[in-house]
Amino acid sequence: MIVKENSKNNFEQCIKCTVCTVYCPVAAVNPLYPGPKQAGPDGERLRLKRPEFYDEALKYCLNCKRCEVACPSNVRIGDIIQTARINHSKSKPGLREFTLANTDLVGSVATLAAPVVNATVGLKPVKAIMDKVVGIDHRRIFPKYSQGTFEGWMRKQRKAQSTFEKQVAYFHGCYVNYNNPPLGQAFVRVMNALGYGVQLLDKEKCCGVALISNGFIKQARRQAEVNVRSIRTAVLEKQLPVLATSSTCTFTLRDEYPHLLGVDNHDVRDEVELAVRYIYRLVQQGAKLPFKADAPKIRVAYHTPCHMEKLGWSSYSIELLKMIPSVEVTVLNSQCCGIAGTYGFKKENYETSQAIGEGLFRQIEASGCDYVVTDCETCKWQIEMSTSKRVLHPLEVLAQAL
């Protein structure tokens, strides 16, 4: 027979088992969202007939990709939905989307006057204005900006880091750079303890995940091209692995670039990974982590971020945590916390966002843990806002125990 194996229309593999909709965190709480099967493969067939079949309700998709993890037929449901939004959505991004999406720009301005910004965005009248005028929910608590960026700190470290024979490149992301340089510093400490020096990429831009979800596709593509070029230099010329501490940045660099933005990264994709995975492999190969004997005992509960689930890598974080003698680990059910980056900041999504996370918040409160640990910064904001617990990154826990 002359029939070829694979179609470029991946949605054809759907056999309508509907397990994706069962796993969709939005469909469970928001009846306005048609669910991944309807919005994805079913809708795609209709949109191929006529673009008028595009339903603006697709904006309720979190892009958590839990549908794709659940799918037994390998349908890239989340990609289909996001691509449809990119191609068909008529709603133009506004001021709110611009502010939320441009993490680089906003971050670099905010860090210059961090104490003022942090104090201002916490004020009730400011929140009221942002709610009414901009459409950012007043109940949302903003992440704090730091004084000085991680990149600034790293510049001072360059000499010390270059003394290590073995080197890795670090994709720090906007959050580490503008909000939480101590996480980057913890990463550097851990890597140094393992005998590796850390260096930055030639040029790093925001991975673009917020640009994609807010409809700034061209800008996202430009930034992706810059990042892939820098990653190529690191991987192909300097023979360095590129490590990151954010699960969403990692996922975006590896998979969203080729799937949603059409930016080819196949030659370097496998060399971009999460630090926890790299470190776990080093330990497996015999590297020793010098744990303190007198570290205080803590109980932590690990939360699996959606993109970590999609990467399939949460076990690396969990196993690393289990290696720390002073840490007792419980694993929370893998479920979405509801924030999904900038999604939960939007006024119209606040209720959905909190309803999605409700089960998780309850489980956290009941777990009796001292800290929640997770690889995603936006999960951290959501959990810290919605529960009584502080949230740490696995590498922060690790660094504290060294």
Binding site: V3, E5, N9, K16, C17, D42, R45, L46, R50
Partner: protein, 539 residues
């Protein structure tokens, strides 16, 4: 009680429905009898191509002219059944450009707008077309949904006084003094037999009309020619693709509603085979191989099903393929032809010319009944096809989710307002592939003469999507039972026969995802739900 009608029309295809509507609009009281459901014969088993006539332009000037005239009329009167996609006749290197010149000349002389365009432009217009093409001609082809078209004609006919009996099979023609004066029918649902009388009987039975004519002792030399087609899972093309060469096998690719269709083959079959058409492996192979010449991506597109229809051609010579036979309309007045009064046969023609066939037949009926009324079917829009009302309906159902609203409007035109959408229960979906809601199914059950799931499919597309009944069949059967269409036992039987009918179409192309999905369907119905009719038969 015997009721007298002016006309009894045998056959519920597009032609019969067209005759019934035309009669009713001219004040003649018709009864339409159909042994199964509407559009079960050749009407529902073709390409659904809104011919521009271009295909016939070179060889059959008369058919071409008829086509383009009816094409323009249908766009007006049946807008909700028509998709104005446009069409391309592409020339591949092996075809050469020789034929193109003659083709364009013939089109223009038949009144068909035909314009040669640059191959690059053709690929922009239809990206799925074979990139090797060396020439392309733009023509006003489109697609037409035969089920909707027939349904709309029936609705309008009934609105103007026609009566319709589906699942009534004509067993005999009542003859009195060499005159046909009525029919003896078998009610296939109740098993009852009855006589119905009329002043004229019209035989619009398509290929089955051959046997109906025999009942009056009349011979029509028909030539059953089987045509097979493949349905692809989604729209591969949005513009009708044809080969610019002498008409041959599998050289038309039509985008119809959510799917694309490639066809057809042509082979002679025997009369005793016409009730049971199977698509063979060789035909599937041929359709794919030739289809890929039009659009290479067909080779790796999921095929939903295969089906075959029988063309009711009237033989004018003994061409074995049935292709060089005229597709022209044949109206036979058996009074002048055979000395049998009160009996007319309408045959030949094609879906495209169903209205004209109705007009000619009704003209003859009028003459016989001495009724002085003009045909208005070319001007009066069919129910559902009023552009102004469509706009109103669209606004009225604005709160319905986009995909469902657009699907409902696409299928029913302005009649979509009859679909109940007021509660979320009515808006919940029965068929997820084709976005058919509970409200739409209930509308079909209550207003569009639905007796079983297959009938429902013809009215709504339930079960016509990629899942082929996997999710919707049981929901629809539940609704049918709820609305008193049948009991639980009959519901189970109907469910089984519906799924078997779906499988019949999938079997010739059962590989890859189509096979996977049908396996999954079997797990669900047989494995999980325990739907099996075998055990009951054993008892």
């Amino acid at each position: 009680m015997t009721k007298e009608y002016d006309v009894i029309i045998i056959g519920g295809g597009a032609t019969g429905a067209g005759v019934a509507r035309d009669c009713a609009l001219r004040g003649i009281k018709p009864l339409l009898v159909e042994r199964f459901d509407i559009a079960t014969g050749a009407t529902g088993r073709n390409h659904g191509l809104l011919h521009s006539g271009a295909r016939y332009a070179v060889n059959d000037h008369e058919s071409a002219e008829e086509c383009i005239r009816e094409n323009m009329i249908l766009r007006r009167i049946a807008s909700h059944c028509v998709d104005e996609t446009g069409g391309l006749f592409i020339s591949l290197p092996e075809d050469g450009l020789e034929f193109q010149k003659k083709f364009i000349e013939s089109c223009l002389s038949a009144g068909i707008y035909a314009e040669a365009i640059d191959p690059k432009e053709a690929l922009l217009l239809e990206p799925s077309a074979n990139p090797a093409l060396i020439g392309a001609v733009k023509v006003p082809d489109g697609s037409v949904d035969p089920f909707r078209l027939t349904t709309a004609n029936i609705i309008d006919a009934k609105l103007h006084g026609a009566e319709v009996l589906t699942y009534h099979e004509v067993e005999e023609l009542i003859m009195e003094q060499g005159r046909v004066v009525g029919v003896k029918v078998l009610d296939r649902k109740s098993g009852e037999r009855k006589e119905i009388r009329s002043r004229i009987v019209v035989n619009a039975g398509g290929i089955w009309g051959h046997n109906i004519a025999k009942k009056a002792g009349v011979t029509i030399n028909m030539l059953p020619a089987k045509g097979s087609l493949l349905i692809f899972g989604h729209r591969v093309n949005n513009v009708v693709l044809n080969r610019c060469r002498k008409p041959a096998d599998a050289d038309i690719l039509v985008p119809g509603d959510t799917i694309s269709l490639i066809g057809t083959t042509s082979s002679k079959v025997l009369f005793d085979e016409v009730d049971n058409m199977y698509v063979t492996a060789d035909e599937v192979d041929l359709l794919l191989r030739e289809g890929a010449m039009l659009a290479p991506s067909l080779l790796h597109t999921r095929i939903l099903r295969a089906y075959a229809g029988v063309r009711p051609l009237v033989a004018s010579d003994d061409d074995p393929s049935g292709r060089s036979v005229s597709r022209g309309i044949v109206v036979l007045d058996h009074a002048t032809r055979d000395g049998v009064e009160g009996f007319i046969t309408i045959t030949g023609g094609k879906l495209m010319t169903y209205r004209l066939m109705g007009e000619w037949t009704t003209d003859l009926i009028c003459k016989k009944l001495a009724v002085d009324a003009k045909c208005t079917t070319a001007e009066r829009p069919l129910p559902g096809s009023s552009p102004q009302k469509r706009e109103q309906t669209s606004r009225k159902i604005h709160a319905v989710p986009t995909m469902q609203r657009e699907s409902s409007l696409y299928r029913h035109g302005d009649m979509a307002e009859r679909v109940e959408t007021s509660t979320s229960a009515k808006r919940s979906l029965v068929c997820e592939c084709e976005e058919v809601s509970v409200g739409e199914v209930e509308y079909a059950i209550n207003a569009l003469e639905v007796n079983n799931l297959v009938d429902l499919r013809r009215r709504t597309r339930v079960g016509m999507g990629t899942c082929q009944g996997e999710l919707c069949a049981c929901r629809a059967a539940g609704l049918m039972a709820e609305h008193g269409k049948y009991c639980t036992r009959r519901a189970k039987q109907d469910l089984a026969s519906f799924l078997n009918e779906r499988w019949k179409g999938m079997a010739p192309v059962a590989w890859g995802d189509t096979l996977r999905e049908s396996e999954f369907t079997m797990w669900l119905y047989d494995g999980v739900c325990g739907l099996t009719t075998k055990k009951e038969e054993e008892k």
